[in-house]
């Protein structure tokens, strides 16, 4: 799967970075940046799925 952050929705809560620090990082403007835009698998994908679930604004989607 690949992840995408809707920057209109993101408000910098940082739950994604806590759940999957390899994949997400809060940028200087408090909006989450996707560090791994490519295909995610295995343990990293599981962490990213947790990030999707925890995002308070439901700003992360997977394709």
């Amino acid at each position: 799967m690949k992840v995408h952050v809707n920057t209109d929705m993101c408000e910098g809560h940082g739950k994604c970075e806590m759940a999957a620090p390899e994949v997400f990082k809060l940028g200087p403007d408090d909006v989450s940046i996707v560090l791994m835009p490519g295909e995610l698998t295995g343990e990293i994908a599981a962490k990213a799925e947790r990030a999707i679930r925890l995002c308070p604004r439901q700003a992360i989607s997977a394709t």
Binding site: D8, G12, H13, D30, L54, P56, R57, Q58
Partner: protein, 427 residues
């Protein structure tokens, strides 16, 4: 009659319109039955109000929250929907005009005007200021050795924070407190001060109290808005005066509804989380002792307070097209009500859900909602709770209850109006 004296509640006994059930503190008994026996439960219409679906399972509320296109906020966000046209219009006045009663795409645009002031980073920068406010308020009770925790402490901190942000002067804070109580607790006779005593406690008194509170609030902010249009200050109202959405300035009405929402949401909810949290800690002395022995548990304790108390008890949505919730059909134009205290004690998500456990992990409660309408002020609520309990237990380590909690008569706000406490006074 106490819960022990009467026969156990059954599904047939449950009436979610019954504000007095909430006032008596029996709502969790109803929620337990609904989660188990009727997770999508219909409350029929009465002579005065329309019927609605009640959701009490975590998964179902998650589904509704994630689909604002199916479940709209624009036609009202509370269970209460009067049938009488005049009352309906009064209740529906703010629909579509505040963030909380707005759908995407306008919701996203309006929220972006203010959300930079509410990000975790922005909130954390406020910590010294919030600690100063908290200290000043605790100073006032320190030598007394007793207090009404709600009136003297829990109401005062969030009120000072939100009024400070908005630019409401200190002389008007007491008025903001009174008006908030009228708007959010209109069914409670204690707040029906505009109604003659013998008429308090009736549905008419509740309508009048809510309407009076709203009108007075608007009058207050209209004056403030005029003043800020003439002379800007460094506050949120001035910021809103200068804001636009795609080149279109906010109207006076837009700004007044914004103020109305921020002042209410900013002071009532956190007040009840603070009070409900202290009550839960005092009723669970082992948990209180555990926290006081190791204050590094506080962030986790704050989350447990939020889960356990869930001070905003419900949000409603209107169904936009025929659909299903967990296989249960709901029809276009019906109303669904999400009960947060119920879903935050869902055993399928939280093991031993009825237990107050300050070390609970994971604790993915939805006390702030989730998705499009996730509480804008969540960061402030968490920080205000953390600072309060740090300062409270540092200065009054032996604080305990000195009488029963008096609950608010409401199906919307899980409020506590009075909580007597005592402690060893500071020398």
């Amino acid at each position: 009659m106490t819960a022990a004296e009467r026969s156990p509640m059954t599904l047939a006994d449950i009436n979610m319109n019954d504000e007095e059930m909430f006032e008596r503190g029996e709502s969790h008994e109803a929620f337990r039955i609904l989660r188990k026996k009727d997770r999508v439960h219909w409350t029929p219409a009465t002579e005065h109000v329309k019927g609605y679906w009640n959701l009490t399972k975590y998964e179902d509320v998650l589904f509704v929250s994630r689909h604002p296109e199916l479940f709209s906020s624009e036609r009202g966000i509370v269970a209460f929907e009067p049938i009488n046209e005049e009352d309906f219009n009064a209740a529906a006045n703010g629909n579509g005009k505040m963030l909380i009663t707005m759908d995407p795409p306008r919701h996203v645009k309006l929220r972006r005007l203010v959300n930079k002031g509410f990000t975790p980073r922005a909130v954390n920068e406020m910590e010294p200021h919030i600690r100063e406010i908290t200290t000043t308020i605790l100073d006032k009770i320190a030598k007394k050795g007793s207090a009404d925790f709600v009136l003297d402490v829990a109401s005062q901190i969030p009120l000072a924070v939100i009024c400070g942000m908005m630019g409401v002067e200190e002389k008007d804070w007491a008025l903001m407190f009174q008006l908030t109580n009228k708007v959010l607790g209109p069914g409670d006779p204690e707040y029906q001060t505009d109604v003659p005593e013998e008429q308090r406690g009736t549905p008419e008194a509740a309508m009048l109290t809510g309407n009076m509170g709203t009108m007075q609030m608007f009058g207050f902010f209209a004056q403030m808005l005029m003043a800020r249009r003439t002379e800007r200050r460094d506050d949120l109202i001035s910021l809103l005066c200068e804001s636009d959405i795609e080149g279109e300035a906010l109207s006076d009405e837009d700004i007044l509804w914004f103020c109305f929402l921020l002042i209410l949401a900013g002071n009532e909810t956190t007040r009840n989380a603070m009070t409900g949290g202290l009550l839960a800690l005092c009723e669970n002395p082992d948990e209180k002792a555990k926290l006081q022995a190791d204050m590094s548990l506080l962030p986790s304790a704050v989350e447990e307070v939020l889960r356990y108390v869930s001070p905003v008890m419900h949000m409603a949505r209107n169904v936009m097209q025929d659909t299903e919730i967990n296989g249960h059909p709901v029809k276009k134009d019906e109303r669904v009500v999400m009960w947060y205290p119920a879903i935050n004690r869902d055993e399928d998500v939280f093991p031993e859900a009825e237990r107050f456990d300050i070390t609970r992990s994971p604790n993915e409660h939805l006390a702030f909602g989730i998705g499009e309408h996730f509480c804008l002020g969540a960061g402030f609520a968490r920080l205000e709770l953390k600072v309060l309990y740090e300062e409270l237990f540092r200065r009054f380590p032996d604080i305990e209850l000195a009488g029963p909690a008096e609950r608010l008569r409401s199906t919307f706000i899980g409020g506590i109006k009075h909580l007597p406490v005592k402690f060893t006074p500071e020398a």
